[in-house]
């Protein structure tokens, strides 16, 4: 859905649901959630609302999680090399 919004610049629940395997009602519910957390912005457009992605907010949210993920990647690499060093030491002693 965010992909579609980004690709098309904007969309309404009707236009988005036409391209997704879900109902317009389901799309509307998700858009409301995204709106409340600030990932999309909307303006009234007749009986519907036009939605577009708040790119700065989206980038911030993902950057935050990516950076936590890469910190864990580094820790897991250290866990791996520690464990493998211990295992090698254990085997040499035998």
């Amino acid at each position: 859905m965010l992909d579609l919004l980004l690709a098309d610049g904007q969309g309404t629940a009707t236009t988005l649901s036409a391209s997704l395997p879900v109902t317009r009602q389901a799309v509307t519910k998700h858009l409301i959630v995204l709106d409340r957390v600030g990932l999309v912005r909307s303006e009234p457009a007749g009986r519907e609302r036009h939605y577009h992605v708040d790119e700065a907010q989206l980038a911030r949210a993902v950057a935050q999680l990516n950076s936590v993920g890469s910190q864990w990647d580094a820790r897991l690499r250290r866990i791996k090399s520690l464990a493998e060093a211990i295992e090698r030491a254990k085997n040499t002693k035998k």
Partner: protein, 152 residues
């Protein structure tokens, strides 16, 4: 990537008993997490993780509670909750290491959950969470990809 959790899996060429020791023992946590800590690896044990900034000497701590110890299969703990509260679902991040014997080595599965509740515009998301789990699952995995395009 699913925004509610971080999941990783890696193969380690060491026996599960060794890997378990490395992920759960304070002496090794000091090495791979650069955090000073002291606790008995038993469920319910609480401790502090303390990091010292090498340049300024400033210390930063976070509480830590062991949740499950099933040697050498599962080790899990909660962290990043307020000092004066007990670790529980909704106020902390839950880290789980699961070890699966694989040939002569170990497959280590890592998950960290709790972001949806805590880390990221959390209260609102939590309110909607139960209703929307399947919906988030449908479109959130694409966020990372999308965001890369946005930031480039």
């Amino acid at each position: 990537m699913e925004l509610g959790s971080i999941d990783r899996e890696l193969f380690i060429d060491a026996a599960p008993e060794v890997v378990f020791e490395v992920v759960s023992a304070p002496e090794y946590i000091r090495q791979w997490w650069s955090a000073e800590t002291e606790y008995e690896p038993v469920a319910g044990a609480t401790a502090q993780l303390t990091w010292t900034d090498e340049q300024t000497g400033e210390k930063e701590s976070t509480p830590f509670t062991v949740v499950e110890v099933d040697r050498p299969r599962t080790f899990s703990f909660r962290w990043t909750y307020d000092e004066d509260s007990l670790a529980a679902q909704g106020n902390s991040l839950l880290v789980t290491f699961t070890l699966v014997p694989t040939g002569t080595g170990t497959t280590l599965r890592f998950t960290e959950t709790g972001y949806r509740e805590r880390g990221w515009e959390a209260a609102v998301l939590e309110e909607y969470y139960n209703d929307h789990t399947s919906g988030w699952d449908l479109f959130l995995p694409r966020l990372a990809e999308t965001a890369r395009r946005v930031t480039v």
